[in-house]
Protein backbone atom coordinates (compact mmCIF):
# COMPACT_ATOMS: atom_id res chain seq x y z
CA UNK A 1 0.00 0.00 0.00
CA UNK A 2 1.49 3.31 -1.04
CA UNK A 3 2.07 6.28 1.23
CA UNK A 4 0.87 9.85 0.91
CA UNK A 5 4.04 11.95 1.09
CA UNK A 6 4.19 15.73 1.50
CA UNK A 7 1.93 15.48 4.51
CA UNK A 8 2.06 16.05 8.24
CA UNK A 9 1.99 12.97 10.44
CA UNK A 10 1.87 12.51 14.18
CA UNK A 11 5.18 10.97 15.25
CA UNK A 12 4.51 11.03 18.99
CA UNK A 13 2.35 12.34 21.76
CA UNK A 14 4.11 15.39 23.18
CA UNK A 15 4.55 13.62 26.51
CA UNK A 16 6.54 10.84 24.82
CA UNK A 17 9.23 13.26 23.66
CA UNK A 18 11.69 14.28 26.32
CA UNK A 19 15.34 14.05 27.21
CA UNK A 20 15.56 10.43 26.12
CA UNK A 21 16.05 9.55 22.47
CA UNK A 22 12.89 8.13 20.93
CA UNK A 23 12.98 6.04 17.73
CA UNK A 24 10.01 6.16 15.35
CA UNK A 25 9.79 5.06 11.72
CA UNK A 26 7.33 7.17 9.75
CA UNK A 27 6.52 6.30 6.12
CA UNK A 28 9.56 4.07 6.14
CA UNK A 29 11.87 6.87 7.30
CA UNK A 30 13.68 6.19 10.57
CA UNK A 31 13.51 9.20 12.91
CA UNK A 32 14.99 10.01 16.27
CA UNK A 33 13.01 12.43 18.42
CA UNK A 34 14.05 14.38 21.48
CA UNK A 35 13.48 17.69 23.24
CA UNK A 36 16.10 20.42 23.61
CA UNK A 37 16.86 21.97 26.96
CA UNK A 38 14.62 24.86 25.92
CA UNK A 39 11.74 22.44 25.36
CA UNK A 40 11.73 22.35 21.57
CA UNK A 41 10.87 18.98 19.97
CA UNK A 42 13.41 17.85 17.37
CA UNK A 43 13.21 15.09 14.73
CA UNK A 44 16.37 13.98 12.97
CA UNK A 45 17.08 11.13 10.56
CA UNK A 46 17.97 8.20 12.76
CA UNK A 47 21.09 7.14 10.85
CA UNK A 48 24.56 8.50 11.48
CA UNK A 49 26.18 9.68 8.23
CA UNK A 50 29.41 7.92 9.19
CA UNK A 51 28.50 4.24 9.32
CA UNK A 52 24.70 4.41 9.69
CA UNK A 53 24.53 3.65 13.40
CA UNK A 54 21.06 4.58 14.74
CA UNK A 55 21.26 7.85 16.63
CA UNK A 56 18.37 6.65 18.77
CA UNK A 57 20.80 4.11 20.25
CA UNK A 58 23.15 6.93 21.20
CA UNK A 59 23.04 9.67 23.84
CA UNK A 60 22.18 13.31 24.28
CA UNK A 61 24.84 15.80 25.37
CA UNK A 62 22.98 19.04 26.03
CA UNK A 63 21.08 19.71 22.81
CA UNK A 64 23.39 17.57 20.68
CA UNK A 65 23.27 13.87 19.88
CA UNK A 66 26.54 11.98 20.23
CA UNK A 67 26.62 8.90 18.00
CA UNK A 68 27.04 5.82 20.15
CA UNK A 69 29.50 4.21 17.75
CA UNK A 70 32.35 6.68 16.99
CA UNK A 71 31.09 9.95 18.42
CA UNK A 72 29.96 12.05 15.46
CA UNK A 73 27.95 14.79 17.17
CA UNK A 74 24.87 16.50 15.69
CA UNK A 75 23.08 19.68 16.66
CA UNK A 76 19.26 20.09 16.50
CA UNK A 77 19.49 21.26 12.87
CA UNK A 78 21.17 17.97 11.95
CA UNK A 79 24.57 19.62 11.33
CA UNK A 80 27.58 17.67 12.52
CA UNK A 81 29.52 19.79 14.99
CA UNK A 82 32.18 17.28 16.02
CA UNK A 83 33.98 14.30 14.52
CA UNK A 84 36.56 12.27 16.40
CA UNK A 85 40.32 12.78 16.07
CA UNK A 86 40.36 15.62 13.55
CA UNK A 87 39.55 19.32 13.25
CA UNK A 88 38.01 19.33 9.80
CA UNK A 89 34.32 18.39 9.69
CA UNK A 90 33.36 17.17 6.21
CA UNK A 91 30.91 19.51 4.54
CA UNK A 92 28.45 16.71 3.88
CA UNK A 93 28.40 15.63 7.51
CA UNK A 94 24.80 16.24 8.41
CA UNK A 95 21.61 14.30 8.93
CA UNK A 96 18.20 15.42 7.73
CA UNK A 97 16.22 17.49 10.22
CA UNK A 98 12.47 17.11 9.74
CA UNK A 99 10.02 20.00 10.08
CA UNK A 100 8.32 19.57 13.46
CA UNK A 101 5.24 21.26 14.89
CA UNK A 102 3.97 20.55 18.37
CA UNK A 103 0.29 21.39 18.49
CA UNK A 104 -2.67 20.18 20.54
CA UNK A 105 -0.28 18.00 22.55
CA UNK A 106 0.80 16.07 19.45
CA UNK A 107 4.19 16.13 17.74
CA UNK A 108 3.68 16.43 13.99
CA UNK A 109 6.47 15.82 11.48
CA UNK A 110 6.45 16.65 7.80
CA UNK A 111 7.38 13.77 5.53
CA UNK A 112 8.27 14.86 2.01
CA UNK A 113 9.59 17.90 0.23
CA UNK A 114 10.28 20.37 3.04
CA UNK A 115 9.68 23.34 0.77
CA UNK A 116 6.02 22.35 0.78
CA UNK A 117 5.64 22.10 4.57
CA UNK A 118 2.97 24.55 5.76
CA UNK A 119 2.12 24.29 9.47
CA UNK A 120 -1.19 26.05 8.83
CA UNK A 121 -2.47 22.93 7.07
CA UNK A 122 -2.17 20.71 10.16
CA UNK A 123 -5.67 19.70 11.28
CA UNK A 124 -6.59 20.60 14.85
CA UNK A 125 -7.60 18.57 17.90
CA UNK A 126 -7.90 21.39 20.44
CA UNK A 127 -9.57 19.34 23.21
CA UNK A 128 -6.32 17.51 23.82
CA UNK A 129 -4.73 20.65 25.22
CA UNK A 130 -7.77 22.33 26.73
CA UNK A 131 -7.89 22.56 30.53
CA UNK A 132 -11.68 22.13 30.45
CA UNK A 133 -11.15 18.56 29.26
CA UNK A 134 -9.54 15.57 30.91
CA UNK A 135 -7.50 13.45 28.52
CA UNK A 136 -6.30 9.87 28.53
CA UNK A 137 -4.07 8.64 25.74
CA UNK A 138 -1.87 5.90 24.40
CA UNK A 139 -0.24 4.43 21.34
CA UNK A 140 -0.49 0.89 20.03
CA UNK A 141 1.87 -0.39 17.36
CA UNK A 142 -0.11 -2.24 14.72
CA UNK A 143 1.33 -4.97 12.49
CA UNK A 144 -0.96 -4.02 9.67
CA UNK A 145 -1.02 -1.52 6.81
CA UNK A 146 -2.53 1.84 7.70
CA UNK A 147 -5.44 1.42 5.29
CA UNK A 148 -6.86 -1.31 7.49
CA UNK A 149 -7.01 1.08 10.44
CA UNK A 150 -8.67 3.74 8.27
CA UNK A 151 -11.31 1.22 7.17
CA UNK A 152 -11.77 0.15 10.79
CA UNK A 153 -12.32 3.65 12.16
CA UNK A 154 -14.55 4.85 9.33
CA UNK A 155 -17.05 2.08 9.94
CA UNK A 156 -18.04 1.99 13.59
CA UNK A 157 -20.69 -0.66 13.02
CA UNK A 158 -17.87 -3.05 13.98
CA UNK A 159 -18.24 -1.82 17.57
CA UNK A 160 -21.30 -4.01 17.92
CA UNK A 161 -19.38 -7.18 17.04
CA UNK A 162 -15.75 -6.57 17.96
CA UNK A 163 -16.30 -4.34 21.00
CA UNK A 164 -19.51 -5.71 22.45
CA UNK A 165 -19.56 -5.24 26.22
CA UNK A 166 -17.25 -2.20 25.97
CA UNK A 167 -18.46 0.42 23.48
CA UNK A 168 -20.64 -1.65 21.18
CA UNK A 169 -24.38 -2.12 21.49
CA UNK A 170 -26.87 -3.44 18.89
CA UNK A 171 -27.97 0.06 17.90
CA UNK A 172 -24.57 1.02 16.49
CA UNK A 173 -24.74 -1.53 13.69
CA UNK A 174 -28.48 -0.97 13.24
CA UNK A 175 -28.55 2.80 12.82
CA UNK A 176 -28.23 4.32 9.35
CA UNK A 177 -25.35 6.70 8.69
CA UNK A 178 -24.99 9.91 6.77
CA UNK A 179 -21.77 10.44 4.85
CA UNK A 180 -20.44 13.70 3.49
CA UNK A 181 -17.31 14.39 1.53
CA UNK A 182 -16.04 17.93 1.40
CA UNK A 183 -14.17 17.66 -1.83
CA UNK A 184 -12.24 20.93 -1.58
CA UNK A 185 -11.19 20.70 2.05
CA UNK A 186 -10.53 16.97 1.67
CA UNK A 187 -12.53 15.89 4.72
CA UNK A 188 -14.94 12.98 5.20
CA UNK A 189 -17.80 13.19 7.71
CA UNK A 190 -19.79 10.18 8.87
CA UNK A 191 -22.65 10.65 11.31
CA UNK A 192 -24.64 8.09 13.19
CA UNK A 193 -27.30 9.52 15.47
CA UNK A 194 -28.91 6.95 17.74
CA UNK A 195 -32.02 8.39 19.35
CA UNK A 196 -32.71 5.55 21.72
CA UNK A 197 -29.84 3.24 22.49
CA UNK A 198 -28.51 0.98 25.17
CA UNK A 199 -25.72 2.64 27.15
CA UNK A 200 -22.50 0.63 26.82
CA UNK A 201 -20.36 0.16 29.96
CA UNK A 202 -17.74 2.58 28.60
CA UNK A 203 -20.23 5.43 28.99
CA UNK A 204 -22.47 4.06 31.75
CA UNK A 205 -19.57 3.79 34.17
CA UNK A 206 -17.89 7.04 33.17
CA UNK A 207 -20.97 9.28 33.03
CA UNK A 208 -23.11 7.58 35.66
CA UNK A 209 -26.13 7.58 33.31
CA UNK A 210 -28.55 4.81 34.12
CA UNK A 211 -30.94 3.65 31.49
CA UNK A 212 -31.09 4.34 27.80
CA UNK A 213 -29.30 7.10 25.97
CA UNK A 214 -29.31 9.32 22.95
CA UNK A 215 -25.93 8.64 21.42
CA UNK A 216 -24.41 10.59 18.57
CA UNK A 217 -21.25 9.68 16.73
CA UNK A 218 -19.91 12.31 14.38
CA UNK A 219 -16.71 11.36 12.62
CA UNK A 220 -14.42 13.82 10.90
CA UNK A 221 -11.54 12.27 9.02
CA UNK A 222 -8.78 14.56 7.81
CA UNK A 223 -6.69 12.30 5.62
CA UNK A 224 -4.13 11.03 5.85
CA UNK A 225 -3.49 11.13 9.59
CA UNK A 226 -6.12 12.69 11.83
CA UNK A 227 -9.41 11.08 12.79
CA UNK A 228 -11.85 12.76 15.18
CA UNK A 229 -14.92 11.15 16.69
CA UNK A 230 -17.23 13.62 18.38
CA UNK A 231 -19.23 11.47 20.76
CA UNK A 232 -22.32 12.96 22.41
CA UNK A 233 -23.99 10.97 25.16
CA UNK A 234 -27.19 12.11 26.88
CA UNK A 235 -30.08 10.57 28.75
CA UNK A 236 -32.53 9.26 26.16
CA UNK A 237 -34.50 12.08 24.56
CA UNK A 238 -32.20 14.89 25.64
CA UNK A 239 -31.12 16.99 22.66
CA UNK A 240 -28.93 20.08 22.41
CA UNK A 241 -30.79 23.32 23.11
CA UNK A 242 -31.46 25.62 20.19
CA UNK A 243 -29.10 28.13 21.76
CA UNK A 244 -26.39 28.04 24.36
CA UNK A 245 -24.27 25.30 25.83
CA UNK A 246 -25.21 21.66 25.42
CA UNK A 247 -24.68 21.20 29.13
CA UNK A 248 -27.16 18.37 29.69
CA UNK A 249 -25.01 16.05 27.57
CA UNK A 250 -21.64 14.39 28.07
CA UNK A 251 -19.08 14.93 25.34
CA UNK A 252 -16.11 12.74 24.54
CA UNK A 253 -13.73 13.84 21.83
CA UNK A 254 -12.01 10.71 20.63
CA UNK A 255 -8.92 11.33 18.57
CA UNK A 256 -6.88 8.89 16.54
CA UNK A 257 -3.74 9.60 14.59
CA UNK A 258 -3.07 6.99 11.95
CA UNK A 259 0.60 7.09 11.11
CA UNK A 260 2.02 4.62 8.59
CA UNK A 261 5.31 3.22 9.81
CA UNK A 262 6.26 0.66 7.17
CA UNK A 263 4.26 -0.96 4.38
CA UNK A 264 2.88 -3.44 6.89
CA UNK A 265 2.93 -1.57 10.19
CA UNK A 266 1.23 1.48 11.64
CA UNK A 267 1.24 3.60 14.77
CA UNK A 268 -2.23 3.77 16.29
CA UNK A 269 -2.16 6.92 18.45
CA UNK A 270 -5.33 7.42 20.46
CA UNK A 271 -6.73 9.86 22.98
CA UNK A 272 -10.05 10.33 24.73
CA UNK A 273 -10.85 13.86 25.93
CA UNK A 274 -13.97 14.37 28.03
CA UNK A 275 -15.82 17.38 29.39
CA UNK A 276 -17.32 15.51 32.36
CA UNK A 277 -15.86 14.21 35.62
CA UNK A 278 -12.71 16.02 34.63
CA UNK A 279 -11.24 15.88 38.12
CA UNK A 280 -12.20 12.29 38.80
CA UNK A 281 -9.05 10.16 38.58
CA UNK A 282 -11.04 6.95 38.79
CA UNK A 283 -12.94 7.90 35.63
CA UNK A 284 -9.62 8.65 33.91
CA UNK A 285 -8.24 5.30 34.97
CA UNK A 286 -11.37 3.50 33.84
CA UNK A 287 -11.50 5.22 30.43
CA UNK A 288 -7.79 4.66 29.88
CA UNK A 289 -8.10 0.98 30.65
CA UNK A 290 -11.27 0.57 28.59
CA UNK A 291 -10.06 2.41 25.53
CA UNK A 292 -6.76 0.55 25.68
CA UNK A 293 -8.72 -2.71 25.70
CA UNK A 294 -10.85 -1.59 22.77
CA UNK A 295 -7.80 -0.50 20.79
CA UNK A 296 -6.11 -3.84 21.46
CA UNK A 297 -9.24 -5.66 20.23
CA UNK A 298 -8.86 -3.74 16.96
CA UNK A 299 -5.11 -4.39 16.88
CA UNK A 300 -5.61 -8.14 17.30
CA UNK A 301 -8.23 -8.23 14.55
CA UNK A 302 -6.24 -6.06 12.14
CA UNK A 303 -3.03 -8.01 12.71
CA UNK A 304 -4.88 -11.17 11.69
CA UNK A 305 -6.41 -9.39 8.70
CA UNK A 306 -3.00 -8.11 7.57
CA UNK A 307 -1.57 -11.62 7.51
CA UNK A 308 -4.51 -12.86 5.48
CA UNK A 309 -4.43 -9.99 3.00
CA UNK A 310 -0.65 -10.01 2.63
CA UNK A 311 -0.86 -13.64 1.53
CA UNK A 312 -3.47 -12.93 -1.13
CA UNK A 313 -3.09 -11.58 -4.64
CA UNK A 314 -3.07 -7.77 -4.95
CA UNK A 315 -6.69 -7.21 -5.97
CA UNK A 316 -8.52 -9.41 -3.52
CA UNK A 317 -12.24 -9.51 -3.84
CA UNK A 318 -14.27 -7.43 -1.41
CA UNK A 319 -17.94 -6.76 -1.06
CA UNK A 320 -19.08 -3.33 0.10
CA UNK A 321 -22.47 -2.61 1.65
CA UNK A 322 -24.15 0.48 3.06
CA UNK A 323 -22.01 0.62 6.21
CA UNK A 324 -18.92 1.06 3.99
CA UNK A 325 -20.03 4.34 2.41
CA UNK A 326 -17.67 6.44 4.55
CA UNK A 327 -14.76 4.02 4.31
CA UNK A 328 -14.95 4.09 0.52
CA UNK A 329 -14.90 7.88 0.57
CA UNK A 330 -11.84 7.87 2.84
CA UNK A 331 -10.00 5.47 0.57
CA UNK A 332 -10.59 7.70 -2.42
CA UNK A 333 -9.27 10.83 -0.70
CA UNK A 334 -6.23 8.87 0.47
CA UNK A 335 -5.59 7.61 -3.06
CA UNK A 336 -5.79 11.20 -4.26
CA UNK A 337 -3.15 12.26 -1.71
CA UNK A 338 -0.91 9.34 -2.62
CA UNK A 339 -1.09 10.44 -6.24
CA UNK A 340 -0.29 14.09 -5.57
CA UNK A 341 2.80 13.84 -3.36
CA UNK A 342 6.42 14.09 -4.43
CA UNK A 343 8.06 10.84 -5.35
CA UNK A 344 11.03 9.36 -3.55
CA UNK A 345 12.83 10.23 -0.38
CA UNK A 346 13.96 13.75 0.51
CA UNK A 347 17.67 13.78 1.11
Amino acid sequence: MEFARDQWYVAAHGVEVGRDLLARTVLGEPLVLYRTGAGEAVALADRCVHRRFPLSQSRLDGDTVVCGYHGFTYDPTGACVFVPGQQRIPRTARVAAYPVVEQDSLVWVWIGDRERADPATIPRAPWLADPRYAVVRGMAPLDARYGLLVDNLMDLSHETYLHGGYIGTPEVADTPITTEVDEDRGVVHVSRHMDDAECPPFYARSTGIQGRITRWQDIEYHPPCLYLLHSRIAPQGVYPPAEGEDSAAFHAEIVYAITPSTAHSTYDFWAVARDFAVDDESVSAYLHQSNHTVVMQDVAALNVLERVIAAEPERYQELSINIDTGGLAARRLLARLVGSGTVGAPR
Partner: protein
Protein backbone atom coordinates in the same frame (compact mmCIF):
# COMPACT_ATOMS: atom_id res chain seq x y z
CA UNK B 1 -28.00 20.11 6.24
CA UNK B 2 -29.75 20.98 3.02
CA UNK B 3 -29.30 18.74 0.03
CA UNK B 4 -27.04 20.06 -2.65
CA UNK B 5 -25.94 23.02 -0.58
CA UNK B 6 -22.29 23.90 -0.41
CA UNK B 7 -20.35 23.64 2.82
CA UNK B 8 -19.53 26.76 4.80
CA UNK B 9 -16.45 28.04 3.09
CA UNK B 10 -17.79 27.15 -0.31
CA UNK B 11 -16.51 23.58 -0.68
CA UNK B 12 -18.13 21.11 -3.02
CA UNK B 13 -19.84 18.54 -0.85
CA UNK B 14 -21.13 15.12 -1.83
CA UNK B 15 -23.67 13.58 0.51
CA UNK B 16 -25.01 10.10 0.95
CA UNK B 17 -27.98 9.57 3.24
CA UNK B 18 -28.98 6.10 4.23
CA UNK B 19 -32.75 6.36 4.06
CA UNK B 20 -34.03 5.37 7.53
CA UNK B 21 -36.00 2.19 7.67
CA UNK B 22 -34.79 1.02 4.27
CA UNK B 23 -31.70 -0.47 2.65
CA UNK B 24 -31.57 2.44 0.25
CA UNK B 25 -28.89 5.09 -0.08
CA UNK B 26 -29.66 8.53 -1.44
CA UNK B 27 -26.72 10.25 -3.08
CA UNK B 28 -26.79 14.02 -3.49
CA UNK B 29 -24.28 15.74 -5.70
CA UNK B 30 -23.09 19.27 -4.93
CA UNK B 31 -24.99 20.34 -8.05
CA UNK B 32 -28.27 19.14 -6.60
CA UNK B 33 -28.64 15.99 -8.70
CA UNK B 34 -29.80 12.99 -6.70
CA UNK B 35 -29.94 9.28 -7.12
CA UNK B 36 -31.07 6.30 -5.08
CA UNK B 37 -28.96 3.17 -4.92
CA UNK B 38 -28.81 -0.12 -3.08
CA UNK B 39 -25.05 -0.17 -2.52
CA UNK B 40 -22.32 2.46 -2.16
CA UNK B 41 -19.75 1.58 -4.83
CA UNK B 42 -21.92 2.37 -7.83
CA UNK B 43 -23.38 5.38 -6.03
CA UNK B 44 -19.96 6.94 -5.45
CA UNK B 45 -19.11 6.30 -9.08
CA UNK B 46 -22.21 8.13 -10.15
CA UNK B 47 -21.61 11.06 -7.77
CA UNK B 48 -17.96 11.49 -8.65
CA UNK B 49 -18.75 11.39 -12.33
CA UNK B 50 -20.41 14.80 -11.96
CA UNK B 51 -21.76 16.10 -14.21
CA UNK B 52 -21.30 13.28 -16.68
CA UNK B 53 -23.79 10.51 -16.23
CA UNK B 54 -26.25 12.56 -14.21
CA UNK B 55 -28.60 12.18 -17.18
CA UNK B 56 -28.39 8.39 -17.23
CA UNK B 57 -31.56 6.61 -16.27
CA UNK B 58 -31.79 6.88 -12.52
CA UNK B 59 -34.43 6.47 -9.95
CA UNK B 60 -35.67 10.04 -9.93
CA UNK B 61 -35.92 11.36 -6.43
CA UNK B 62 -38.03 14.26 -5.37
CA UNK B 63 -35.67 17.09 -4.55
CA UNK B 64 -36.76 19.01 -1.45
CA UNK B 65 -35.13 22.14 -2.81
CA UNK B 66 -37.39 21.95 -5.84
CA UNK B 67 -34.47 21.64 -8.20
CA UNK B 68 -34.53 19.04 -10.91
CA UNK B 69 -32.17 16.12 -10.91
CA UNK B 70 -30.56 17.14 -14.15
CA UNK B 71 -27.00 17.84 -15.22
CA UNK B 72 -25.69 21.09 -13.86
Amino acid sequence: MSPGADAPGGGRVYRVHWVPGTDTLRGICHCGAQRLAEEPVALWQWLLDHPRGHHLPTVPAADPTGRQAVPA
